[in-house]
Every structure is written in C-alpha cells, then in structure tokens.
C-alpha cells in the first residue's frame, strides 16, 4: 500500500464519482454531499461494470448496470443483485489533492 496522488478535489463534483486507473487496476473515487472523499474498487461486484458511470446519492453509489447500491464509505451492499461488498481504500486530502492508499 502506498499513498498515491489521484486527483484534485475539484476534479470531482459534489455528490459524484470519477474513475481512477492505477497500476493496472481501476478504482472509483467519490465525493459525498459533505465534501468527504472516499475510494473503492472501480468495478461492481455483480459484473465487471465501472461504478464511475453510476449515480451518487449522499454516501451511496448505484451501479449503472442493474442498480446494486453500495455504501461507499463502508463498501457494503445495500441493495442486491450484488452479494459481495466493495473493497474500500483510505483517502486523505492535502493541499487540494486527493490521495488514496492503494
């Protein structure tokens, strides 16, 4: 694990998500409704679909494909069809940059 500079805090709109690819892996970085930044694996656990195309509502991301809902602060599935939780990664904000521990 290492802290990686992923993006600027302004690269993500409030209540939105972007895709971040690093080291051959793909992640999703979220900004919630209270300007908290979070990071999870980038693909849904149901099928390999990029969550960054989904809708963020407060602390949840809804998969764009079949609407599984995850709490991105914990990775937990809130609504199936997905059965497995998302892996979460630590984040911190320094000097307007979002760093992720991946």
């Amino acid at each position: 694990m290492a802290w990686i500079d992923a993006c600027s805090t302004n690269d993500i709109d409030a209540e939105d998500v972007i895709r971040f690819d690093h080291g051959g892996r793909t992640f999703a970085i979220y900004r919630n409704h209270e300007d908290g930044y979070f990071c999870t694996d980038g693909l849904c656990t149901h099928e390999d679909i990029h969550l960054a195309d989904g809708l963020v509502m407060e602390n949840t991301i809804e998969c764009p494909k079949h609407s599984s809902i995850f709490d991105f602060t914990t990775g937990e599935v809130e609504t199936p069809p997905a059965c497995n939780n998302l892996h979460c990664y630590k984040t911190k904000v320094e000097g307007g940059r979002v760093l992720v521990d991946i």
């Binding site: 990029h50 195309d53 989904g54 809708l55 764009p64 494909k65 079949h66 609407s67 199936p80 059965c83």
Partner: protein, 394 residues
C-alpha cells in the same frame, strides 16, 4: 406448531424473498421449492452472453438455513389444511405460502415445433445451434428475439427476424428507441421482416401469412410469456393475467402471497403484470416484509433493461405509447425520451446508447417518477439543464 414459510418457485423473486426474510429477522422454517434442477440462476444472461450466472452460491442457502428443494414440482395445494404437495407425493405444511412461479414462454398455435428460451436447458439447446453460417429464423421482434439476434450474429450465424407489427418492440418501448435498435440490427446484417405475419413454424421452417415457406437450420420464437398460474388457479386463487394480489402482494386466500412475473398488481391505478428482473427482486423483498406483518407502500418504479451488441437500453416507468413522448436532446449519440401525464407528473423515461451512457440520466428520471414529481417537460428536454440538480431541487 410452526411450519414456517414455503416458497413455490426458486427464480429471481423466490430467492430474493427467501434471503430478505432472513435479512429482516425471520427465524422460522424456510423452504424454497423449485421445479428446475439447477441451483437458481439469473435468466437475463441467457439471451445476452449465453452464460450461467448463479443468483447465490450453494453455501449462501445453507448459511441462511434456507431449505432448497430443487427438481421438485408443487402439484397441488390444500389451503384448508395448509399443505402443499410435491411431485412424488410428499406433503409440506406452511404458515405462510408464497407463489413465485414466474412465467413461461408463450407459443401460439401452429408454431409449437420451434425453440423457445426461458431456462438454462433451453439456452443450451439454442446456443448449440448458433454456429457460423447457420440460418436462424426468429419469430418476434421483442426483447428476447432481438437479444438472441445479436448473440447469433456475434456467433456468425445468418439471422432473420420476423415481426408481425410495423416496428420492433411495438408493445414495449417508444418508437424513438426502437428505431435505434432497428438501424443497428440492419447494420449488423440481421434481415428484418416487419409487418409480416407467421401462421406456422416447425423446427426448420416458418410459414408466412402470404403462404411463403422459409427454411432455416433453427427456428426460435420470442413472442412473449404467459404467467405460470395453473397451480394457483387449480387451488382456487383469483387469477387475472397473473395471480391477483393487493398492495401487500396478498392473494385471495389467507396467508397466501404471490410476487414476481406470476402476479398482477396495481401500479398507480393500472393493473399490471411485469416481466422484469428488477421488479422480481423488489417484489421479493417487499413480500418478505408483508409476510412478516410489516406492511409498507410499494412504490418501486418498474424498471427494465436490455443489451444488444454494445447498446444498452433502460426503461423506467410505464409508457402510454398512444400519448405524446418528449425527447431530451442529448446530442451525444444517445437517445433519451420521457413522458408526462395530463397533470405534468413524470411517468416514464427510456434511454439507449453505447454501454452505460444513459444510465445515470435514466436513474435520475426513475427517482423523479418515484417521487411523482411535477415537471416542466421543456426543461427536462433541454440538455443544458443538469438533471441531478433538478432532482436535488425536488
């Protein structure tokens, strides 16, 4: 004595209901009976990727103390003594009974000899026929027929789709969306025969209404589905294009519920029977709460998707195809349409584009429909209006 919950039908809805009962704290006996031999699997991939994807792992059932009785058909029910009878004669007692018997492929008279797709076994047979150069005849330009057409083209087969109506998906989606699919199928080399009635078909032939005889290596019919209600009807439940249920998904018999493709319920004043994977899950969860005595209003918006080639289509709500439909001018090669009722309530929306290009929009529309939002159609049609902000303002 407690005899617990018995669920008839181990498809998407029955499985969801069983797990939801446990998630909501039900501790009693729980039996899930399924006529099919395979561990419950998702149907949508059968016509898209042609692969088997399980709904839950075998361990998940045992971990949650869900007794799976697969390969067993419920043959009759005695509501008086609260017993269900399985093929082989075994009787099971219940406190609460749930019908999630789903639907089966429809076939009209004269076409009984062709293939249909509903189960994993059907898919095995169909996939084995989709080889390069094979001539595949598909009756019906609905979702299953079109997804199979795309799958068959990918496999290199020669495909003809024969549709009785003037356009594809005539009963299901607005013409703006159907047009995109029609153009794409033509571009991919599918031969589309519209306004063409079929009067007969066998394993290798289709006879058109004008008498023309067409020869194929395989003939598949995708002409809709019928709710699996024979058992319910024989047991004495009220059935009207599906097992009739109230807002809690209760049938006409005490302690007996029905949900998913087999049921007919009231959606905002209209009686509907959905054939939707998401609705099967939503209703499975909802009926679990009803069984536990926690009645909450059902307000889940009907939602459906389909994948053909790299295109994905999503529909939220129920369109009145006879009434005006508005377009949102996305301008990026995607198509998004929506409809409002006379009171300017948003009632339905649909989008199509490559991959998940329109999903976020449709998800927001779905939430606006759920909240029964009064909208200004002109603003929704204007792509410079941020939908997320409109949602936040409601």
């Amino acid at each position: 004595m407690m005899s617990g919950v018995v669920i008839i039908g181990a498809g998407e809805c029955g499985v969801r209901a069983a797990f939801a009962l446990r998630e909501h704290g039900y501790k009693g006996e729980l039996t899930l009976i399924g006529a099919e031999a395979a561990l419950p699997y998702e149907r949508p991939p059968l016509s898209k990727a042609g692969e088997i994807r399980l709904i839950r792992t075998a361990e998940a059932y045992s971990d949650n103390q869900i007794a799976l009785r697969l390969g067993k058909v419920v043959t009759n029910i005695d509501f008086g003594s609260r017993l269900v009878f399985l093929s082989g004669g075994e009787a099971l007692a219940y406190d609460h009974l749930l019908f999630t018997t789903g639907a089966r492929a429809r076939l009209f008279s004269g076409v009984e000899g062709c293939l249909t797709l509903r189960t994993d076994l059907d898919a095995q047979v169909i996939l084995s026929r989709l080889s390069p150069g094979a001539k595949i005849g598909i009756i019906g330009g609905g979702f299953i027929g079109l997804e199979l057409a795309a799958l068959a083209r990918k496999a290199g087969a020669e495909v003809t789709v024969i549709e009785a109506g003037p356009r594809l998906l005539g009963r299901a989606v607005p013409p703006q969306i159907a047009r995109v699919l029609q153009e794409r199928h033509s571009l991919e080399g599918v031969s589309l025969m519209l306004d063409t009635g079929v009067v007969g078909a066998s394993a290798n032939q289709i006879v058109l209404a004008d008498g023309t005889l067409l020869e194929f290596d395989a003939v598949i019919a995708g002409v809709g589905s019928l709710p699996e209600t024979a058992l319910a009807e024989a047991a004495g439940l009220a059935v009207r294009n599906g097992i009739a249920v109230d807002g809690d998904f209760r049938t006409s018999a005490p302690q007996v519920f029905a949900a998913g493709d087999c049921c007919n319920f009231d959606w905002r004043g209209q009686q509907v029977r959905l054939e939707s994977w998401k609705a099967a899950q939503d209703q499975g969860e909802h009926v679990a709460l009803s069984i536990l005595g926690r009645s909450v209003p059902y307000n889940k918006v009907p939602w459906f998707w389909s994948d053909q080639y790299d295109l994905s289509l999503q529909v939220a709500g129920i369109f009145d195809l006879g009434a005006p439909i508005h377009s949102r001018a996305t301008g990026d090669g995607t198509t998004v349409v929506f409809q409002c009722d006379a009171q300017q309530n948003l009632v339905a929306a649909a989008g199509i584009g490559p991959g998940n290009a329109t999903s976020k929009d449709i998800r927001i529309f779905e939430k606006l429909i759920e909240r029964q939002t009064i909208v200004d159609a002109g603003r929704l049609a204007d792509p410079s209006q941020n939908l997320k902000r409109l949602l936040a303002a409601t």
